[in-house]
């Protein structure tokens, strides 16, 4: 039973992806192209070229952080839609620490920048969570509002306060370049001995292994620690948790801060790992993609990794089909959306199926063994 359940859990998203591809096929047919050719181009372009593979990994990195951030809040029955705004603020704080301090060694400067990013994200989440826990204001509303504020604030800070003075007179609106000691080291030197070279390889940085490590640590933390247990209790029945003496508000606060802290790191892949400055056109929308990633991963920290990879793959594939199959990349955006919808439906069906299976199993046990004989474990 357990093995079969695991298989189903893996098969469900796979089926949803296939379903999404089928629907997208109809659209590809409608614009007069052969879907099989398009998918073939997509797969060939994305998976047979070194630059594509590394580009996928680079795009996956922030999605891991974003997916984890959203998943952590969902785990505590909170909807942190504010990952978007929290990573804007986190990115700015990291850039600020990066360019305003000089002469620190990398072992101090980089961690400081990372902490600043996480701290910025947390500070930005304080108002929504305080309003939620004290006044019951719904965090979906408040975090969305905070996103708008973060967006406007960031434009102001980059354009009017911290704009790199050497760029004035050019169309480039960005902060000064961060100190080398605050930059996240590239994985290029590690990969060079393996014969991997090129700009896409160089782009990949140590935030990818950091993201994977955080995912593994969180998985362990949630399943094995006392706090993780309390999180499960609060999420699955807050009233029963309260009756058991678990401080609901404290648990939810902790998880929201964890979520926001991770959210603060989302933008660093681009800011500290690649560009080295915060441009007014820095990549946006990663926080919202994180919601899709968390959904696909069913809020499982380890599941976030393949889910983020899928979105990285689709993103790269979109560029491929646009260029080589001359299919608008919006088709791939639609594909993403349909996959998400299919996933939601498929998970719901799976949950219902598992529930009836479990019921049936439990009842079989009861009728088969009238007296339970140490059936525990």
């Amino acid at each position: 039973m357990k093995g079969r359940l695991l298989l189903l859990q893996v098969a469900t998203p796979a089926l949803a992806i296939v379903f999404g591809m089928l629907i997208a096929s109809v659209m590809i047919l409608a614009i007069g192209r052969n879907p099989i050719d398009v998918y073939a181009v997509m797969v060939r372009f994305s998976l047979t070229r070194t630059d594509s593979l590394f580009s996928i990994l680079f795009k996956t990195t922030p999605l891991i952080f974003a997916g984890l951030a959203v998943a952590m809040s969902f785990r505590a029955s909170l909807f942190n839609i504010g990952v978007e705004g929290q990573y804007y603020i986190g990115a700015f704080c990291a850039a600020l620490v990066g360019f305003s301090l000089r002469g620190l060694p990398a072992v101090v400067h980089l961690p400081l920048a990372l902490l600043a990013a996480a701290g910025g994200g947390m500070v930005w989440a304080l108002v929504p969570i305080a309003l939620k826990l004290r006044r019951g204001a719904h965090e979906v509303i408040t975090t969305i509002m905070m996103n708008y504020i973060a967006s406007a604030l960031l434009l102001y800070l980059i354009n009017d306060v911290f704009r790199d003075p050497t760029q004035i007179g050019t169309p480039r609106v960005r902060t000064p370049v961060v100190a080398p000691a605050a930059r996240v080291p590239s994985m290029g030197p590690l990969l060079a001995p393996l014969g991997l070279h090129g700009s896409d390889v160089e782009k990949l940085n140590l935030l990818l292994p950091l993201g994977v490590t955080i995912a593994v640590v969180l998985a362990y933390f949630l399943s094995r620690t006392r706090f993780g247990y309390e999180v499960r209790a609060v999420a699955s029945n807050p009233l029963a948790a309260e009756a058991a003496g678990i401080p609901n508000a404290r648990v939810q606060f902790g998880m929201f801060m964890l979520s926001a802290g991770i959210a603060g790191l989302v933008g660093l892949n681009d800011i500290l790992g690649f560009f080295g400055y915060l441009d007014i056109d820095f990549p946006k929308g990663l926080g919202f993609l994180g919601i899709s990633v968390a959904l696909l991963a069913k809020n499982n920290p380890l599941g976030v990794i393949p889910a983020a990879l899928l979105f990285g793959f689709l993103d790269r594939g979109a560029a491929g089909v646009q260029f080589f199959a001359r299919v608008p990349k919006e088709i791939i955006v639609i594909l993403q959306a349909i996959i998400i919808l299919a996933i939601v439906v498929a998970y719901e069906l799976l949950t219902r199926y598992v529930r009836t299976q479990r019921k049936r199993e439990a009842e079989l046990v009861v009728t088969a063994t009238p007296v339970a004989e140490g059936t525990g474990s």
Partner: protein, 511 residues
């Protein structure tokens, strides 16, 4: 009068994973009161839903007055003269009795104008015909539960039902209201109506019915005339083994006061006080029972006693220590266990595993933790012992608790709350929704706790349960304790008078 009103032949109904009805035969004669009894999950409700057209049987057929019939909707059931009085009332509180009764089949003129006067007249006629005491113009929200039930019955009669199905009609009534209901039912029977009465209260079944059909695991165990059977026999048919209906209540000398409330005031929703100046003291080795119709402040009282609801005034003491403003956690750590009135709300987390539910609230104990980590081997040992000791029927304690039956879920709660030697037990409606077997189990556990010196506060709407377990019995009405009795003094009829607010203790003391 020997013709059959309805005959079910070999009805089988399957749901994914269960056979709810397995070849059920049932014959109900016109003009009789036919009780259907069985434990939870025995298939009573499914059978009635088939009869009322809500479900279609997979096999078997139904004959109404000798004619084979397909009942594919409640509308069709009503056309055949079959009406259902639901356990949960489906009434609109702001409408009058007459308005509620006609809802869905309003008498109207050709132009669609509602003939309210005619409706009211017809409702009044029905009440007179069947001897129902009910004012057609009264607003339903202001009526008592018993009166609301009468409205439900009139509703069904208004639609021309010849056969009335009553699903657990006495569950919500106090003894006096049960008497009135039975009076009404007998009157209906005299007028030629047929009644199917679903219940698991055996005393009532024996008092009102002509025939009793017992279901177990979806099958008919037998149909017996009520006059020629006993409670014990019916219970044995239901459970499949002899059941002890009268629990031994050995005398225990009470010890010191463990739980004490002094003039406790507890807010309900908003500013209104749900508990007004309640004082009580529960001693070690006694069961202190609180009887009362639900919604008279019991929920709020219990929540206040275990630290889940702020106390507006008065004092709460556990072992002489003031815990009026203590947290739920602090009160729990002083040895106060709590069986919540609604296990799905406060007792268990349904999606969590059985083992996780068994340690809820104990999960911070040293034996279950290694620093910040949970100590799985330590927990496993505890869980295995609890599952064995309390006979929780589960193959895999990693399965979510929602896979268990209601009785087994309650066993999880009881097993957990009885762990680590609590000194005080606050048990709210501990047998609600449980079948005879599980009820017997829980009641035994409560008495065992009492014998071992625990102070047990039992809050229950089930009078029989309060009477058979308690050493002292208080009645709660309107947020106050209106009476207190010693075990020997309390009778159901007397308690009923206090539960309905007919009598108060000051009058009782005077008289």
């Amino acid at each position: 009068m020997n013709d059959l009103f309805i005959e079910l032949r070999h009805i089988t109904k399957r749901f994914p994973g269960v056979v709810a009805n397995d070849g059920v035969d049932l014959a109900v004669r016109t003009g009789e009161i036919h009780a259907i009894v069985g434990e939870n999950g025995a298939g009573k409700s499914t059978l009635m839903r088939i009869l009322y057209g809500l479900y279609q049987p997979d096999q078997g057929d139904i004959a109404v007055k000798g004619q084979t019939a397909v009942i594919d909707s409640p509308r069709r059931a009503l056309e055949l003269g079959i009406g259902m009085v639901h356990q949960h009332f489906m009434l609109i509180p702001v409408f009058t009795v007459a308005e509620n009764v006609i809802l869905g089949s309003e008498p109207a003129s050709g132009l669609g104008r509602l003939r309210m006067r005619e409706a009211r007249q017809r409702v009044a006629d029905l009440c007179r015909q069947y001897g129902f005491i009910l004012d057609p113009g009264a607003e339903v929200g202001a009526l008592s539960v018993g009166e609301q039930q009468r409205v439900e019955i009139i509703k069904v009669l208004y639609r021309g039902a010849e056969l009335l199905i009553l699903d657990e009609p006495t569950a919500v009534l106090v003894p006096q209201e049960v008497e009135e209901l039975f009076h009404n039912l007998r009157r209906l029977k005299e007028q030629g109506k047929t009644i199917i009465f679903i219940s698991h209260k055996l005393d009532e079944v024996l008092a009102i019915s002509d025939q009793v059909t017992v279901l177990r695991h979806g099958r008919v165990v037998g149909t017996v005339p009520a006059a020629r059977t006993t409670k014990a026999q019916l219970a044995e048919m239901m459970v499949g083994r002899p059941v002890l209906l009268e629990l031994e209540h050995p005398s225990v000398t009470p010890g010191q006061v463990r739980l004490e409330a002094r003039r406790l005031r507890v807010p309900g929703g908003g500013k209104r006080l749900a508990v007004r100046e309640v004082s009580l003291a529960v001693r070690a080795g006694e069961v202190y029972g609180v009887a009362g119709v639900e919604g008279n402040g019991q929920t709020e009282l219990v929540e206040a006693l275990v630290g889940l609801r702020p106390i507006a005034g008065g004092q709460l003491l556990v072992d002489g220590r003031d815990v009026t403003h203590a947290t739920a956690r602090a009160i729990r750590l002083l040895g106060v266990a709590h069986i919540p009135e609604d296990r799905h709300r406060r007792g268990i987390a349904l999606p969590m595993a059985v083992w996780e539910n068994l340690i809820l609230g104990h999960h911070t104990r040293d034996e279950f933790t290694h620093g910040a980590l949970l100590d799985r081997p330590g927990i496993q040992g505890f869980v295995r012992r609890r599952v064995g000791d309390y006979d929780i029927r589960v193959a895999d304690t990693d399965a979510p608790v929602l896979a268990l039956s209601g009785g087994n879920q309650q066993k999880v709660v009881v097993a957990r709350e009885f762990s680590f030697n609590p000194q005080v037990l606050v048990a709210a409606q501990p047998t609600r929704g449980l079948d005879i077997g599980a009820t017997e189990f829980v009641m035994r556990q409560l008495l065992a706790a009492r014998s071992s010196g625990m102070a047990v506060l039992l809050i229950s709407a089930n009078l029989e349960e309060v009477l058979s377990l308690s050493d002292r019995i208080a009645v709660m009405y309107g947020g106050e304790m209106v009476a207190e009795f010693a075990r020997a003094e309390a009778t159901p009829a007397e308690l009923g008078l206090y539960m309905t607010g007919t009598k108060r203790k000051d009058e009782a003391r005077a008289g």
